[in-house]
């Protein structure tokens, strides 16, 4: 049970990091084409 809980937490953290980095990557790409800042304004 404890092991499964740890597994779920680790997976959730990986999902969150991947999701945030995916959005940031698109923002960085659009900024490169159109201009803009990587942080500030919209949350992601």
């Amino acid at each position: 049970m404890e092991r499964n809980k740890k597994k779920a937490i680790v997976l959730a953290v990986i999902v969150m990091i991947g999701f945030v980095l995916g959005r940031l990557a698109v923002r960085a790409f659009l900024n490169m084409l159109l201009g803009g800042t990587l942080f500030g304004g919209n949350i992601l």
Binding site: R3, K6, K7, V10, L11, I14, V15, M16, I17, G18, F19, V20, L21, G22, R23, L24, A25, V26, R27, L30, N31, L33, L34, G35, G36, T37, F39, G40, G41, N42, L44
Partner: protein
């Protein structure tokens, strides 16, 4: 190390990360702010009648789409024209169908107008198309749009003209340069990220600002292409190119009679000059025009990073439409 591997195998961690990364990237396009739905519509016969590709000239691209609202009982209608983006070299009136559908749903006769696209902006276009010829096409199209609406039973008594980027530039030229010759009063103009003037010191995004031969050459090539006429390099050097650029410099035509205006620009715009928009703002202020200017301080040409201010901008457009184009 062995303990971590026992909890999550490395391959599973990588796979989950990749799936989440792709989902995050897709979500950037797929998830729109909830408020955006209020200012956009999917076209359907419930909204009205759409007639596409009505000609206003002999050219292949000289066509417009006419959106007529369901209610045809009114004595007169406001016309809302929206001009497409695309750097003067690409794009199509169908790109703005959701915006035009929204305007039609509000009760306006709406129109998307195509114009002859320039083949490139690296020199005078091989097909002769330029911002100047495009602005004249729009000027020629408006009376035809109004005639077509009247013929369909929708007489027009006032209009607004708007657009995005290149379309915004053309909308501003019509509003400030040509409105006095319009068949009906131009009571409002709106849009985003359209270039309004061509002071080369503003155009650092294309490397025009230096006092060297390369900067002069870039200025000459790009501005000549936009104007559709070769600007001698001497005129770039002595600054008199600005007189030549006046026909396509909307800002230069602003007078106290200019229509109310709502615009938005991104501070970090890499496609057109943000600094030029500050001259537009100053000209509107100086002439006492009723206007709203929205600066998106984290965005570029796509206004992509400032959703909160984008909402304020579209709400201002809606408010100005209600004020100057009452139904």
């Amino acid at each position: 190390m062995s303990k971590r591997q026992r909890i999550i195998p490395v391959w599973l961690g990588i796979l989950v990360f990749l799936v989440a990364f792709i989902a995050g990237a897709v979500s950037k396009f797929a998830i729109q702010p909830s408020w955006a739905k209020e200012y956009s519509a999917k076209w359907s016969d419930e909204i009205g009648t759409l007639t596409t590709d009505l000609p206003y000239g002999e050219g292949d691209e000289q066509k417009f789409d006419l959106y007529l609202p369901k209610d045809n009982s009114r004595e007169a209608y406001g016309l809302a024209v929206y001009l497409h983006a695309g750097g003067f070299t690409s794009g199509d009136k169908s790109d703005d169908r959701d915006m035009l559908a929204w305007l039609c749903k509000k009760g306006y006769v709406a129109a998307g107008i195509n114009y002859t696209l320039a083949r490139d902006l690296g020199g005078v276009s091989s097909n002769g198309a330029s911002v100047y010829t495009q602005s004249n096409e729009i000027k020629a199209a408006i009376p035809e749009v109004i005639k077509a609406a009247a013929a369909a039973g929708y007489p027009i008594d006032k209009m607004t003209i708007a657009g995005g980027s290149a379309g915004h530039a053309l909308a501003m030229i019509y509003s400030y340069r040509d409105a006095k010759e319009a068949p009906v009063p131009v009571v409002f103009t709106f849009g985003a990220v359209g270039p309004s003037c061509f002071y080369r010191e503003d155009w650092d995004c294309y490397g025009m600002t230096g006092e060297d031969e390369q900067s002069y050459q870039i200025t000459m090539a790009m501005f000549s292409a936009m104007l559709g006429e070769l600007i001698p390099i001497e005129r770039v050097k002595d600054g008199s190119y600005l007189e030549m650029m006046k026909p396509i410099s909307a800002m230069e035509w602003i007078t106290p009679d200019a229509p109310p205006t709502v615009v938005a620009y991104g501070t970090y715009d890499r496609v057109q000059s943000f600094k030029a928009s500050l001259r537009l703002k100053a000209a509107l202020e100086k002439n006492g025009v009723d206007f709203r200017y929205f600066e998106m301080p984290h965005s570029g040409h796509g206004l992509q990073n400032d959703s909160r201010i984008q909402k304020q901008w579209i709400m201002a457009i809606d408010k100005y439409l209600d004020k100057y184009m009452p139904l």
